[in-house]
Symmetry: none
Subunit: 196 residues, 4 copies
DNA sequence: CTGTAACCGAGACGGTACGTCACGTCTTGGC
DNA sequence: GCCAAGACGTGACGTACCGTCTCGGTTACAG
């Protein structure tokens, strides 16, 4: 984690209020217009306290975003790889279409380019675990014979997530369910999966 | 264009110097640490002049980036759709791996989320024209029977560009040529193209 | 004069419009808020033209003020020195209470401290001629026996004008007629004049 | 005072450094060329801090000037009204001839015309207290029979200060001691004082 | 009676300073 | 002994004018 995970002395009240204020302000004024000053003021917390526990606004937002993210996009295994991928990608798209999570993640990504620690935290705490989950789910599909054993699974995952990021960072309208379904179908077909 | 494209009286010298300074500073200190003040100082141009012709730092960078982009990633038509896509995507990946263009584009994308005018300019002047070129190239491939006539071409283009954006915004290592080749092959296969 | 006195080619229309705009703006927004840009815009004249004929805003204002001043505060000689001084001082006080002349003169004085040319122009074109007139009027009064022959006339003039400047620069309420009358009477008495 | 006189948290170090820098720069480059930026830079203080405690450059200068003024021009009471007035006026003239106080006060006066708060502060904190002192000193002289009981004391004070302001704002050479002596003598005589 | 040169309006230009904002650090005093 | 409150130095923001400088267009003398 980018934040020191805990301290006996850390005030949970301050932590909660800070994260809540951060997301709230993000929803109201957009990520870029949120300042540490404003978060502190809204949370009734001093700037010093924020800087004590997080290195930057991005880190606050990442923690807030992550807390909101985890249950929103579960990886299920119903035995139907296409359906599971559709479910997962749809959930991700839906989350990114939702305020404040969409703007928050966009903002976090925008800081990734000049904040090495944040970049590391995003990749290690957020992206790679879920990437690995997706690969793992495909691997099981391979074991079940739904896709060839030698399929290039990381490439497939990139082909799934890529268009989601593409639309999000360019602020294009997010995929609807049919588009997600087509995407999943194409990706599976590109791996040489049997048609469903 | 986000800038009024011309004014008889506009000083070409100032324009050139500004764009050059913007890219130079971006290479040296990173997009986020470039300020309009610094661009003005380096270019020997007044801040007022920059604000007269561009609404924001992002707009300056976009113009500079666009000028550098256009010849770097041409769309060729050699008759071999796979080869042409490889060529194009490789060029794009290579440009994004190159300072100052990679950082510049990442920075531009980071402003897209809070700058509507810039978002519009990026989409209309940069993304959509090239997206359309790619679709058009695929359409011709369809006419030549290299891919099915009813293929979902926009989806294919998103599957091509998506992973490039995905890696770029997450600061993952860019694709190498083999990965690009695999990507292109998978996308074509997902469309139902005859194997080459 | 601080301005080059004339040129055959000089546009009288521009000159008039400039002076008028300067006084008008001074009345509306106060001397300090008047800018050369605004004068030029209001007068329908280019900044270049203003700078061609006047070295500074203060010089424009001085010319405008002087044109308005000269007939406003004549030196009469009715044979009664006390009455004539009252008339003159009252006229001066009244002019300085009048927009835009009061603010304009206050503004000019405020520039005198950092503009040597303007200081010289104010003294030579405005202050000293009128100072000399006052001394001369007192000298004639001395010849007529209204005040002693050896009176310190410059000191007397300073005692007359001084309080007017004092109130003006401190933005105290200007003298009313009775106060002017008392002032004149005191000054004459201080010179050893016979009581009237 | 134009400034809130105190705040428990205000840094005395910053306040001192600011006032000192303001006077120093005023001496070196003249009031008009002093900028808040330069004061901040020289004092090692942030502009924000200056604007937190003073509303304008003029207010800074006024505080600096006032601190320097108070002991420079005391009102003594030796029992000899003429001598005391000479002493006081000479001290004032001398202060106004001294850098940076002369330029500073001239500059302050120049802002009085477009800054109502400053005008009020100058009058209330600077001019009127001293004016009242002078009237009071004259009143005691009246009690002692040095001047008539019904003399117009405020008018007398204006006749004393007026010429000092007159010369100062017009940048005429300041009065020498003999001129001050003559002025005082004339003013007292104008009140009907017994000759000394 | 027609060049041609000065003047004109317009406004872009390189600058300086403005007054504001947010940063991240530091200090104080109350709980 | 922790924390809110907020002052502090720093530095960039976007704006306003400065005074200089081209631009074309117009005007009015001089050849």
């Amino acid at each position: 984690m980018i934040t020191s995970p805990s301290s006996r002395r850390r005030s949970e009240r301050s932590r909660k209020a800070t994260l809540e204020a951060a997301l709230g302000l993000c929803a109201e004024k957009g990520y870029a217009r949120v300042t540490v000053e404003a978060i502190a003021a809204r949370a009734g917390v001093s700037k010093k306290t924020i800087y004590r526990w997080w290195p930057s606004k991005g880190a606050v937002m990442l923690e807030a975003f992550t807390e909101g993210l985890l249950d929103a996009t579960p990886f299920t295994d119903t035995g139907d790889i296409a359906a599971d991928l559709r479910t997962h990608i749809c959930a991700a798209v839906r989350l990114l279409s939702t305020s404040p999570f969409g703007p928050a993640y966009a903002g976090i990504l925008s800081e990734v380019h000049h904040d090495d620690a944040l970049a590391k935290a995003v990749r290690e705490d957020l992206v790679e675990p879920r990437f690995a989950c997706a690969v793992e789910r495909l691997r099981r599909a391979g074991e079940q014979g739904q896709i060839p054993a030698d399929a290039d699974l990381p490439l497939a995952v990139e082909m799934l997530y890529g268009p989601v990021y593409y639309r999000h960072v360019l602020r294009k309208p997010p995929q609807d369910e049919a588009t997600v379904a087509a995407l999943v179908e194409h990706v599976l077909r590109s791996l040489g999966a049997r048609e469903t």
